[in-house]
Amino acid sequence: METLQNIAQGLLERGDVSMVIGYTPGTIPGKTKTIFARTPEAAQKLTFNENCVNNLSIYLTRQYGNIGEKPVALVVKACDARTVNVLIQENQLKREQVYLIAVPCNGVKDEHGVEQGKCKSCAQRVPKDYDALAGETPAPVEIDPTLRFKALEQFDAMSPDERWEFWMKEFEKCVKCYACRQACPLCYCERCITDKTTPRWIEPDTSTAANLSWHITRAFHLAGRCIGCGECERACHQNIPLGLLNRKMAKEVFDNFGYRAGESAEAKPVFADFRYDDKEEFIR
């Protein structure tokens, strides 16, 4: 069995990758931080534990400029690897530009010890596709697949008025810092719609209406793409349950098209695909 540090050290010694992006202990118990290990010595600082919440695939997006001639190695949990798949599907990078070091994951917790919502319904201990596995292949687990949309049940049971009231209360808290966007590996647009000023599509102030238009726009833009890593919700210090919006969209896509984002890097993105036997008239 190879350890994470050994795999990373080997890659850097052989010069197979330009760097290994992984986790290292943070400054506060329960927090971890990202490390860009560029030397075999730095590889020894890598760690993986139940506090490695972050989805590091964000550092593969173009704005970070980490993708060069040599591949970049990335430490991935199963959910993170699904994001990498979406990035490949959407031509943001090529599979050979990234070396995936898979880490077996039994669920992650934030620094307060709270298990992340996504982990409760996740039965995937290792990614489907990876280049090296740090540790042993864990025993498979069985989890009721309906748990994935469990959080929506209470929400779906509300009347439209109740739902409206629920979201108005949530969006009132938004401070428009856009941390949700910045923490999202799939919010990689070079120019976000909210930053456009001629014309201005989304008012920049923090009125509840302006906040609503931002969050709705973002949810729509992530429909069929969001893999549910939960980084937006984790980054939101105002505790707005943003994951609910994305999960709702994921459910719609799943129910209508049987598609789950990030399952395969080869699959066509759901909104870039069509079927001759589509149930809707207008598309045929």
Partner: protein
């Protein structure tokens, strides 16, 4: 500084405040978010034992996230500009921590520098700050780096402190504080000797060791182009640090126009966003995230100090607690000058 004894509990004091002619702002937990908000009843207030520091600081009550600063309209080609008045409403903010109170002291300097910001200053002059000393700072707190302490009165009109036997005392440092105290019947108008700071000395010992600020500034003076900043290319640019900081005060100005009428608004902004420095030409002097993080450290520990002889950080720890990638400003500043971060 005048010291008075308080009868009854903290909650009794809040109730008395509510009976006075002030709007009362206090820490509450509304919809899973701890923040300072207007209150109608003492029951909704989080006691100092329930919350160390709210996620959102009290800053938004003097410097709102969104604020209309002017109105305008066109009549044909003629432009009319209308001023916006700030109401002179008396308010009291209770339950601030010494770091947050000191933060207002720091940003007063910029809002009354060359331009007198009437929006901030009018509210500031009408607001009385009652802070509460901290018995249990957490592992992100580092106020002692800035000449503040868990029981510092800096910036507070009234500071509430406990003696060793848990009696509550009011330390009054300003006229505004005295004016308010005179109308509060829970405050016994008889000066007391200092009850000591036993509880707070103990609290201070568990905090992060004070930063060497002169050494940090020296390092910032000479390391603008240092490779050290590459460390911060992991920053997501989410701006959480700035939006939760009690001293960050940058804003953007936008016009919202509908047909022939418009309003000019001030909205919070942050140096961590690429758009913050994007020129109309397309050039961006801070074109990478590590440069934007450098700006944050520079402004906190150098530029503001150069101009106002005060640091733009009070060690409240919010940016450390909430950063999604664990960028720790204390560690960042300490390691820049080769010091070990004593966390």
């Amino acid at each position: 500084m005048k010291i008075f004894k308080i009868t009854g509990t903290y909650k009794d004091l809040v109730e008395t405040l509510l009976s006075l002619d002030y709007k009362v702002i206090a820490p509450v937990n509304r919809n899973k978010l701890t923040r300072f908000d207007f209150i109608n009843s003492a029951d909704e207030v989080l006691s100092p034992d329930e919350v160390l520091n709210t996620v959102r600081p009290a800053k938004e009550h003097l410097f709102p996230m969104t604020e209309t600063v002017a109105r305008f309209s066109y009549e044909g080609k003629k432009l009319r500009i209308g001023d916006v008045e700030v109401p002179e409403e008396k308010s009291v903010i209770i339950g601030l921590r010494p770091c947050d109170a000191a933060a207002f002291d720091a940003i007063d300097k910029i809002f009354s520098y060359v331009y007198q910001d009437k929006f901030y200053l009018t509210r500031r002059n009408n607001t009385t700050l009652i802070s509460v000393a901290c018995e249990h700072p957490d592992n992100a707190c580092f106020c002692t780096s800035f000449g503040i302490s868990p029981d510092s009165a800096k910036g507070s009109d009234i500071l509430l402190k406990k003696s060793k036997d848990s009696s509550l005392f009011a330390f009054i440092s300003t006229e505004r504080g005295e004016d308010l105290a005179r109308t509060i019947n829970n405050i016994i108008p008889e000066e007391q000797p200092d009850p000591g700071r036993d509880l707070y000395e103990a609290a201070e010992k568990n905090m992060r060791a004070p930063l060497d600020l002169p050494k940090i500034k020296e390092a910032l003076n000479t390391n603008f182009e240092s490779e050290y900043w590459n460390e911060f290319s992991r920053c997501l640019g989410c701006g959480s640090c700035a939006y939760l900081c009690p001293t960050c005060h940058c804003f953007d100005i936008v016009d919202e126009v509908r047909y022939d009428k418009g309003i000019r608004k001030k909205n919070w902004d942050a140096c961590q966003f690429p758009l913050f420095t994007l020129h109309a030409s397309g050039h961006n002097p801070r074109d990478a995230q590590n440069k934007r993080y450098r700006q944050r450290l520079m402004h906190k520990f150098k530029y503001y100090h150069d101009r106002f002889d005060t640091h733009l950080c009070t060690g409240c720890g919010r940016c450390i607690r909430e950063c999604p990638v664990n960028i720790d400003i204390y560690e960042a500043a300490a390691e820049l000058c080769g010091c070990e971060a004593n966390i």
